[in-house]
């Protein structure tokens, strides 16, 4: 090699490995092989096996296992209903929590960040049990929900509408104080009165037109609402956990700049905040989705295993397995595995795009240059 004569690359490489890396070759090779072996044994072989088992009787049987069995079909539909609802709830919660903790210093901030992590540390079975104890037949609200459960719906709907009113009020308030006349001038009073009127009108409208059935049991446990609650609870740290460090790394200066340039809260959020955190948000949603689809423990407790009604995909897998329907069980499992692999690919792609303190455009050190 001609370069060797000039640069002595081998000599340099040897010198470097001697100084920086004291371990002899056999240790390095040994450790690498051990790690690869463990991953192969515990990860690669089982994953490959899932697909092998699922497809062992041919593609036609695989297809029938997935979509010909009405209970399996229903479990896929149920998962595709529960997961999006839980996701939307967690995105809203995650954004709010991350915004609050990264942008404001309020009493209880540390407690909030600690509590966000609670679902990570609680066993999912316990989480499911909590909901049974609250909403189940023997739970706190059980007797009430069974007697006249739908009577809470007017309150819930009216409350949400009143909240929407408050949001709209501040969105449409004229930005220039001089242009604010009449009720725009007194935000506190207007919001209080306005939301009160909205609440009252909607509430009585619902009562008057008897929108909700009377004296009927509202099922939460052993029904879809319970599944949504359990899934949302177990997965709610994902979005918030992902967004808090991203928002802290990005900082609030750009947002302040936008405000000083005349942007209102809405414009600031969409023009500055969202573009800065979007990859972190997508990352959180992807992880949250993977976990929500695969959730077993909490859902197991609240579902009641009513075949074709409250079985989600993981529950269906377990049931098919118990019934010795291995190809059917592996077929559904292969779907979840596909989701997992897809998640992994997207996640690795996203990781490079998320702003952290380490990869911000320019780490700025002021004092060093003075």
């Amino acid at each position: 090699m001609s370069t060797e004569a000039i640069f002595h690359p081998q000599a340099v490489a040897v010198a470097r490995s001697r100084t920086a890396q004291q371990d002899p070759a056999w240790v390095r090779w040994g450790l690498t092989l051990f790690a690869l072996g463990v991953v192969g044994l515990l990860v690669v072989i089982p994953v490959v096996n899932i697909f092998a088992e699922a497809l062992s009787e041919g593609v036609g049987v695989y297809w029938n296992n997935l979509f010909a069995d009405p209970d399996t079909r229903q479990s896929i539909i149920l998962t595709l209903t529960v997961v999006p609802i839980a996701l939307v709830a967690n995105v809203i919660f995650g954004l709010t929590a991350a915004w609050a903790t990264a942008r404001f210093n309020f009493p209880g901030r540390t407690l909030l960040t600690a509590l966000i992590d609670l679902p990570f540390s609680v066993s999912p079975v316990v989480a499911g049990l909590m909901f049974v104890l609250i909403f189940g037949l023997q739970g706190y609200f059980g007797p009430f929900l069974r007697r006249d459960g739908y009577s809470i719906m007017p309150y819930v709907i009216s409350f949400l509408a009143a909240g929407l009113f408050v949001l709209l009020f501040f969105l449409f308030r004229p930005s220039n104080p001089q242009a604010r006349c009449g009720f725009w001038k007194y935000p506190g009073l207007s919001v209080l009165a306005g939301s009160g009127v909205v609440f009252g009108l909607l509430f009585f409208a619902q009562q008057y037109f008897q929108v909700w059935p009377r004296n009927q049991s509202l099922k939460i446990i052993f029904a879809t609402p319970g599944l949504v609650l359990a899934t949302a609870f177990v997965t709610f740290p994902f979005v918030a956990r992902e967004l808090i460090p991203v928002m802290e790394a990005v900082g609030s200066e750009e947002e302040l700049a936008a405000v000083s340039l005349g942007a209102n809260g809405w414009q600031m959020f969409w023009d500055v905040t969202v573009p800065n955190i979007k990859w972190g948000l997508v990352y959180g949603i992807i992880l949250c989705n993977a976990r929500a689809m695969g959730e077993f423990g909490a859902v197991y407790v609240v579902s009641g295993h009513i075949a074709g009604k409250t079985d989600t995909m993981p529950l269906r897998i377990e049931k098919l397995f118990q019934e010795y329907n291995l190809p059917g069980s592996f077929a559904v499992a292969s779907l979840l595995t596909l989701v997992a692999i897809l998640t992994l690919v997207v996640k690795t792609q996203l990781e490079r795009k998320i702003p952290t303190t380490a990869n911000l455009p320019e780490p700025i050190t002021t004092e060093a240059q003075l």
Binding site: E253, E254, A258, S260, L261, G262, D271, V272, Q369
Partner: protein, 343 residues
């Protein structure tokens, strides 16, 4: 647009960032807020911008109380130390943002952006992203962005703090010239006295949330109102002493008064010359640069710094360990104080 600040106070927890500050900024002024870190200068700027809400006090434009206006209603241009450019927008989009959110027609935005790109000498850079620019270019874009919507006041928070020395020097002069051209009332924060003197018409020296002195650079440097101002603006020798009959007597045991002398206002000679003087022994001589810096030890053991011209130094031929007489040409005497200042 002139600004009037009346009795503004601001606390962060137990820390008093601003303590009853009043300030008037005339229309078209270029004002520097100068002070050490923690002196409240940035807080004052942010209160004016509406990014921070004062605990009490008022901020007034002529005929308009803007104390309770939000930042977006004040029509200020704010330049951040670390630029705070929108990293996902191009340079042109950054500059045009203030106009876009105020629903200016697109053609008008384009026109104004082009005009500003020329002003900051970055025409042709409109399609780049902030990440592709150097620090000095970024700060110019930030300035153009702040100016785009014709702000009533331009506020700059340590605008050159994050730049290297050479770029900083260029930008200072450029800002000075820019202000001469556009004449918008401007306030900038700095902890660098040289920068404040070079750029500003008037300097406000701040310390511990209070204004120590307001004046032109010359006034502040030559006639410091308080010991803090004297100490903060340039090197200083400090002696204890007492005042008697309009004359200051330097003596270590006296603590009633503090005597300040700038190093260039001290002279060294081999003979006492008849005037005021004290004895000292030369410890160190640094003759690199336009001025020769001499470090000496006084009779009573204090270190004194003297600066003299190269010419004077050559004439004297001073040597290390030599005993000499130090002759003060001008001193400033302040009442000694402990704790809060009573002056």
């Amino acid at each position: 647009m002139s600004i009037l600040i009346k009795d503004v106070s601001k606390r962060f927890g137990s820390f008093k960032a601003l303590d009853n500050v009043s300030l008037e900024v005339p229309d078209g002024d270029l004002l520097a807020l100068l002070g050490p870190s923690g002196s409240g200068k940035t807080t004052l700027l942010r209160v004016i911008a509406g990014l921070e809400v004062a605990d009490c006090g008022t901020v007034l434009y002529p005929e308009e109380d803007i104390t309770h206006h939000s930042a977006r209603d004040r029509k200020v241009g704010f330049v951040f130390q670390h630029y705070a450019l929108f990293r996902h927008m191009t340079v042109a989009e950054n500059i045009g943002y203030g106009l876009k959110v105020r629903k200016t027609p697109k053609a008008q935005i384009c026109e104004r952006v082009d005009e500003l790109l020329k002003l900051i000498r970055l025409d042709g850079f409109g399609t780049r992203y902030p990440g592709q620019l150097s620090g000095g270019q970024r700060q110019r874009v930030a300035l153009a962005r702040a100016l785009a919507a014709q702000p009533r006041v331009l506020l700059l928070d340590e605008p050159f703090g994050a730049l290297d020395a050479k770029v900083r020097q260029e930008l200072r002069q450029w800002l000075r010239r820019l202000h001469e051209n556009i004449h918008v009332t401007s306030i900038f924060v700095t902890h660098d006295q040289e920068e404040a003197f070079e750029v500003a018409d008037r300097v406000v020296v701040m310390n511990e949330g209070k204004i120590e002195q307001i004046g032109s650079p010359d006034e502040v440097y030559d006639h410091p109102a308080t010991p803090f101002v004297y100490k903060f603006l340039g090197n200083v020798n400090l002696f204890h002493g007492r005042m008697d009959d309009g004359k200051a007597y330097i003596h270590q045991s006296e603590t009633e008064h503090v005597v300040y002398v700038r190093p260039h206002l001290l002279d060294i000679d081999r003979v006492p010359n008849g005037g005021d003087h004290f004895r000292a022994k030369i410890k160190h001589i640094n003759s690199a640069g336009p001025l020769v810096k001499v470090e000496a030890i006084t009779e009573w053991g204090a270190v004194v710094h003297v600066e003299m011209s190269q010419e004077r130094f050559r004439n004297l031929q001073l040597l290390k360990e030599e005993a000499v007489f130090v002759i003060p040409k001008d001193v400033k005497v302040f009442q000694a104080y402990e704790g809060p200042r009573s002056k």
